[in-house]
């Protein structure tokens, strides 16, 4: 199963990044291949145009699988009036459908369809389900945690749970009689069917038989084999006279279950790989911002200090200059004052001398200057 193998590898890649060389080779091979089921695996073709709703298959299943005796006997057909599904004690059930436009009811048997790529196996987180090379999907109850995710995942609502079992509740479902196939026997239901509504064989042959029946009986069948491609293909397939929707088989699409989850699983290692890088980056950016902010703050403080210092110096210098200038001015003023006083004194003296006589020397002003 290359794709499953591939997904397994993707899943584990998130846990351990080491990929073995063999694993890597298979993973590459899965890129352009699709899994179409085990070669020569078995299946069953259910022809609902042949089914008469006798419930013999239910009885056969019950007997070969040693399931608890039913509350209502298998030959009581009144149970068909109510729609039923498989449960823990009934691994297969037949339902009756009244289809518009047909005068007779249609009966359809329900059981595990044994998908080629089973949703239950893909969903199980302990690998309790195995797709066997004979086509059957089997379950190992000793691994089961009882999470019931297989029941959520199954598109056909097949797995059932033992809700009333307190200590060892397990999933119950059809095994396609895997143990009997091992012994070379037919599945219990197929063996019990009196109308050959169930044909057991290799799946590839069954597809051919189904096509043949549709081709050689014009008007009897819908031109579709339900299960050939549904959910990636199933081991059990159906041909029907009534539209499949009318007998409770909804349209499924052809994608197998793992294809719906591969993208999400594949992104796990991506997140594991890139998130730490981005987050460390975010951390580094915020750290760097803090550092730059701190540096800028420091620079601003330094600049402010330098400016304050410069300002103070300028103020000091200008104050000094002013003081010097004032001093000069004061000296000049004093000198001027002294000269004025001296001149005045000289004038007064001169006037007095003139008044007294003509004998005073002319350099008296020079003397006055020296006094100042």
């Amino acid at each position: 199963m290359n794709r499953r193998r591939f997904l397994t590898l993707l899943g584990t890649a998130g846990v351990s990044t080491a990929m073995s060389a063999v694993g890597a080779k298979q993973a590459v091979a899965a890129g352009n291949q699709s899994f179409k089921g085990y070669k020569d695996s078995y299946g069953v073709l259910h022809d609902t145009t042949r089914c008469i709703g006798c419930r013999k298959c239910e009885q056969g299943c019950n007997e070969v699988n040693k399931l608890p005796a039913p509350k209502v006997k298998f030959d009581d057909l009144t149970v068909l009036e109510k729609s039923r599904r498989t449960d823990a004690n009934n691994w297969t059930v037949v339902n009756k459908y009244n289809v518009a436009g047909l005068e007779h009811p249609v009966f359809r048997k329900q059981q595990c369809n044994h998908c080629l790529e089973p949703a239950c196996a893909s969903a199980c987180f302990v690998k309790a389900f195995t797709k066997n090379p004979d086509g059957s999907v089997t379950y190992d109850g000793s691994l089961c945690v009882g999470c019931r995710y297989c029941m959520v995942a199954c598109p056909f609502n097949v797995p059932a749970f033992q809700y009333d079992e307190p200590f060892d509740p397990l999933i119950q479902k059809c095994t396609m009689c895997h143990p009997r196939l091992q012994e070379g026997k037919l599945p219990g239901c197929v063996e019990a069917c009196p109308k050959e509504a169930l044909t057991f064989g290799k799946r590839e042959d069954l597809v051919r038989i189904a096509r043949d029946r549709i081709r050689s009986n014009p008007g009897r069948y819908q031109d579709h084999i339900y299960g050939e491609l549904e959910m990636g293909g199933t081991a059990w397939m159906y041909v029907s006279g009534a539209p499949f929707e009318a007998v409770g088989q909804q349209e499924m699409g052809t994608k197998s279950a793992p294809e719906y989850t591969a993208g999400a699983l594949g992104s796990v290692p991506m997140v594991v790989g890139i998130w730490p890088v981005l987050l460390t980056g975010a951390y580094a950016i915020s750290k760097r911002k803090e550092k730059v902010a701190a540096e800028e703050r420091e620079e601003a403080v330094q600049a402010a200090l330098a400016k304050a210092k410069a300002d103070a110096e300028t103020a000091m210098n200008s104050a000094l200059a002013k003081a010097a200038k004032e001093k000069d001015a004061a000296v000049t003023r004093e000198v001027k004052k002294a000269i004025e006083q001296a001149e005045q004194a000289f004038e007064e003296k001169f006037a007095a001398l003139r008044a007294e006589g003509q004998d005073t020397p002319p350099d008296a002003g020079g003397e006055g200057k020296e006094d100042a």
């Binding site: 899943g11 995942a153 909804q250 951390y283």
Partner: protein
């Protein structure tokens, strides 16, 4: 609780209600583990998952997202002003995850085999394996992230200092693991396209769950803050009280934006899948209630509350956002799941299922009160100030 006890004795109304819930829970627990899951639930073969998954697991994990959201914004994105919100958020996240795991034991058929996927048989193709692995690892990470509170309380300085040095690495681990399992909880439903209503089914379910977990985380920090202020105000130190307003408005603003983005991508998804026609149906009406009542409305209320600096409005918005997460997780896991089954086959929880969920929530609150009244969660330990 401690103070109330010394004043009024043990028989306060709160304590009596707590005791009744715990007693009923104990009885249901006994029935569950002796009579089986069927005895206490309405689960069936068609409805294998009920509120123990829809509420306890999906809502529990989403609403515990406050841990990674707060620690990432504080330690990775450098928003130091939210530092006082980290410890309460980590504490609630740790308790949230711890009790998610406790609650899971009720739902599992073989609870004792819970470690099987990790140690015994690894089903690596399962999204549930990824959820289990990440939740187990993240619970461990949360325990280590939370442990300084206990270590300071116990006075184990040396170990505490070693753990605090791991903060950055643990925070990155926390975000990686949360991204993975929050999204994987949504991815669980990718495998069932036929069962989930097209309005909710999308290949982007993991993205929706992850983005909305951010809303849940941001809103729960605000919502829990409201509750803590009502009951444990006296335990908060000055820093916590001073920063509380900033946390409410900062987280409210972020939540408003994330909700708007979430609304946008959800709308794009409807367009991409061309699901418009479904809007005219009953499920469509319910989808519109979710989108407008629990996404657009809280986004608007948050924006308005932050703009007007209206604390009450932001807190009302957080209640709508938290309810919105519950509505969304219920829709994906229960209400819109199995939408095409006839009404008779649909699920409605048994009262004992609700009883267990109430029991678990009560346990979380009780343990939170025990921790917050004793350990330095809402205040900084005087001996370790500035140390972290």
């Amino acid at each position: 609780m401690h103070d109330a006890n010394t004043k009024n004795g043990l028989f306060t109304p709160g304590n009596i209600i707590t005791a009744i819930i715990l007693a009923v829970g104990a009885v249901i627990t006994f029935i569950r583990f002796t009579q089986g899951i069927g005895a206490v639930t309405n689960l069936s073969d068609n409805n294998p998952w009920g509120i123990w998954i829809g509420f306890d697991l999906l809502c529990g994990v989403a609403l515990a997202a406050g841990g990674y959201v707060t620690s990432a914004s504080c330690y990775l994105f450098g928003m130091k002003r939210y530092h006082s919100a980290v410890r309460p958020a980590i504490t609630t996240a740790f308790l949230g995850y711890f009790f998610v795991v406790v609650a899971l034991h009720y739902d599992l058929g073989h609870p004792l085999r819970l470690p099987y996927p990790l140690v015994y048989s690894q089903g690596t193709t399962s999204l549930l394996f990824e959820v289990g692995l990440c939740v187990a690892t993240y619970l461990t990470v949360l325990f280590v992230e939370w442990s300084p509170a206990a270590l300071e309380w116990l006075g184990l300085r040396k170990i505490r200092n070693v753990v605090v040095k791991l903060t950055l690495m643990l925070t990155i681990f926390g975000v990686v693991l949360s991204t993975l399992h929050q999204s994987s909880l949504g991815a669980l439903f990718l495998i069932a396209p036929g069962k989930l209503h097209p309005l909710w089914y999308s290949s982007f379910l993991p993205v929706f769950f992850f983005i909305s977990s951010m809303v849940a985380g941001l809103s729960m920090v605000i919502f829990e803050g409201t509750l803590a202020h009502a009951g444990l105000h006296h335990k908060m130190d000055e820093t916590h009280l001073k920063e509380a307003e900033g946390v409410v408005f900062g987280f409210g603003k972020a939540a408003s934006f994330v909700l708007a983005g979430y609304f946008f991508i959800k709308t794009m998804d409807i367009a991409m899948d061309n699901d418009w026609a479904y809007l005219a149906t009953g499920y469509g009406a319910w989808f519109l209630v979710e989108m407008f009542g629990f996404v657009a409305l809280p986004s608007f209320l948050y924006a308005l509350g932050v703009r007007e600096r209206n604390m009450t409005l932001v807190r009302v918005a957080s209640i709508f956002a938290v309810l919105g997460i519950v509505v969304n997780r219920f829709n994906v896991s229960l209400i819109a799941f199995n939408w095409n089954l006839p009404a008779a086959d649909r699920y409605f929880p048994h009262w004992m299922e609700i009883g267990v969920s109430v029991f678990i929530v009560t346990l979380i609150i009780t343990v939170y009160r025990f921790i917050a009244t004793r350990m330095p969660v809402l205040y900084e330990h005087p001996e370790y100030k500035d140390a972290h």
